[in-house]
Structure formats: structure tokens, C-alpha cells
Symmetry: C2
Subunit: 193 residues, 2 copies
């Protein structure tokens, strides 16, 4: 029937994600995206719609991308506390791992767009809730396994852990001392004892 697409849609979307991740929504121009995605301006509009729609797709892709990376880190059978530490380390390591920008597109977007775009605000809230659920499930598993005390309230703790993680995803972007960041993780986890 017709000519087939020559670029890989996911791969191209990933390129857009990287740019939004590093620069934010407003700072990233369509020209930047054309240069970085490696396909024609017209192809971007045909495939991904306008800038905002492309951004929404990139945001969704980001969550999938990050979740996959994180989950593969959590496959090993570790004590619950250590699993939770893995989640924190995953965010902090992005400071060293230079393949991707420091920080987190979800937090960046929460800060940049939540007050200005109600639809995006809701998407971001949902994403935070899913992270919270991840902690919640780990804690419940821990209580079932017996390495997390039943005295603890998993619902409260998951809110608390999620908030700490949000904070870290801001601090890793600054010139903040990285020893400090590890100390924050240790102290936060001590609540689980």
C-alpha cells in the first residue's frame, strides 16, 4: 500500500524525552527537537502531533522507561529495607550515570507545569501515587516476610518515603554535597527499624 516508516517511533520518542528531561518544556523548542530527534519537522507533527502532545507522550514513555529500569533492579531477592534503599540509590546514581540528565522528568514537570496545566497536574499526581504504591507494596511484602515490623503503618510510610524521594530528585540537580545525599537516605531508612 504505502511506504513504511523509516524511523523507530519509540526510539525517536526517547530522544524527545531526553531533551524535555534535560531542558524542561518551555526551554525546549521545536527546532531543538528537530535537531535532536533526527527526523524531519514535518514527520514530528505527523507522528506525534503538536509540542504539548509530544510532551505528553514523552512523559508517558518516561514513566515506562524508568519503571522498567527500576524494576529490573528490584528482581533480586533482598531484605525489604535494602530493596527500598535500591529505589533511592537508583535516583541518586543518575547523578553519576551521565547517559541521562540528573534529576527526574516527573518532578521537573510537577514543578514547571502543575500550576499552569490542570491535565498535566493530574497526570503527575497519578504518577506520584504509583511510586507511593510501589513503596506500599514493598512494605506489605516486608511485613509478610517478617523483616518489617507490623507496628509500622505502610500507608503512612509510603507517603513519607515518596516525599523523601521527591526531595532527593530535586537535590541531585543542584551542587549539593553528594555525601549529604547518602546521609539523608540512611536517616530516612532508619525509620523502618
Amino acid at each position: 500500500m504505502a511506504r513504511s516508516k523509516e524511523f523507530d517511533e519509540k526510539q525517536t520518542l526517547k530522544k524527545a524525552m531526553e531533551l524535555f528531561w534535560k531542558q524542561g518544556y518551555e526551554k525546549t523548542s521545536m527546532q531543538d527537537l528537530v535537531d535532536h530527534m533526527g527526523i524531519h519537522r514535518r514527520s514530528i507533527y505527523d507522528t506525534f502531533g503538536d509540542k504539548r502532545t509530544l510532551f505528553l507522550s514523552a512523559l508517558t514513555y518516561y514513566e515506562e522507561f524508568i519503571t522498567n529500569k527500576l524494576m529490573s533492579r528490584l528482581e533480586r531477592d533482598l531484605p525489604t529495607k535494602q530493596k527500598i534503599q535500591e529505589v533511592f540509590m537508583f535516583v541518586i546514581n543518575s547523578k553519576v550515570d551521565s547517559d541521562y540528565p540528573k534529576g527526574c522528568l516527573t518532578v521537573n514537570t510537577a514543578v514547571e507545569l502543575s500550576l499552569l496545566d490542570e491535565e498535566i497536574a493530574q497526570i503527575i499526581s497519578d504518577m506520584f501515587t504509583r511510586t507511593e504504591n510501589l513503596f506500599y507494596n514493598l512494605l506489605i511484602q516486608g511485613q509478610n516476610k517478617g523483616d518489617i515490623s507490623n507496628e509500622h503503618n505502610p500507608e503512612l510510610l509510603s507517603l513519607y518515603l515518596n516525599n523523601t524521594l521527591v526531595g532527593l530528585r530535586v537535590l541531585v540537580k543542584t551542587n549539593y554535597n553528594s555525601n549529604n545525599i547518602e546521609n539523608i537516605v540512611d536517616l530516612t531508612l532508619s525509620v523502618l527499624d
Copy 2:
């Protein structure tokens, strides 16, 4: 000698601060600033320099403004833990208090500009350090007064409290359940017992 300025420089700078606070740096145009500051475009450039310079002034003014508001909340003689709670509540209340935008210009700027502007990254790190010092001083006072255990490490705790506060300043911008936010504060403060 000459005609005197008709506008109050601080008051006009405050207007700029409000706009950057709500919209961020990139999203705020000079036209927005002209409309909101109520002085002529030319007067903005003459008085405050270009957009980035104006932003830096607004950021400095913001810290002064917020610090003053916060300090007046801490004048009363309260137990240390309650004083620290006051600091958290101050941030959270901004969610209800509609005079000013939700969230915090410091955190917003950390997220939006730290990776793109080294000078701003340093300014933001310094601002975070000063918040950390605020906590540190409260904790030392508490240990001297005797209502904070000497077992605690004030340096570690000040990092920890600062990070929690950063997280909250992101979450208050989202549609996140506000009951959750109070629970996070309570659980964070329980570490001080």
C-alpha cells in the same frame, strides 16, 4: 538635579518575583512583566537590567521576603519540635493562603535552571544550605534547652529535615491529597523523639 523615581523599587521587584514564582523563568515574558509590574518596559531595563538580571534580583528578594515571614513565625518561645513543625506548616499553608502561588521559587528554580546555569545552581545550593542551617540552629538550641536528645546528630538531621521540606515544596504544587502532606510532616518529626 533630576526627577525622582515614581515607583517603589522594592514593591515593583516584588511584583516580578510573584510572576516568576508562579510561572517560572522561561514561561514569563518581558511583556508579562511589563503588564504585571505596572511600570514602563524601558523603566524595567533601566532599573533592573535584562531579564536574567531581574530574575536574579527577584530570587534574592524572594529569599529575604520568605525568611522574614518565616522568622516572625518563630519568634514565640515554643518547644523545638513545634518550632520545626512551624517551618513545615509555613510551606504547607501556602497551599491555602492564596496571596501567593503554591510552592517555592527556590525549589522551582533549582529544578528549572540548575542544570542550565551554573551561577544560578550555586546560588540555589547556597540557599538550601541556609535552610539547612536554620534547622541546625534550632536543633542545637533544642539540645541546649534539653527538649532534643543529645543522642541525635544535628548535622544529619538538618540535612534530613531540609530534604523533606524540599519534597513538600514540590508536592504542594500537585493535586496530591493534603491530608497526606500533614501525615508526612508528622512522621518526619517523629524521628526527633
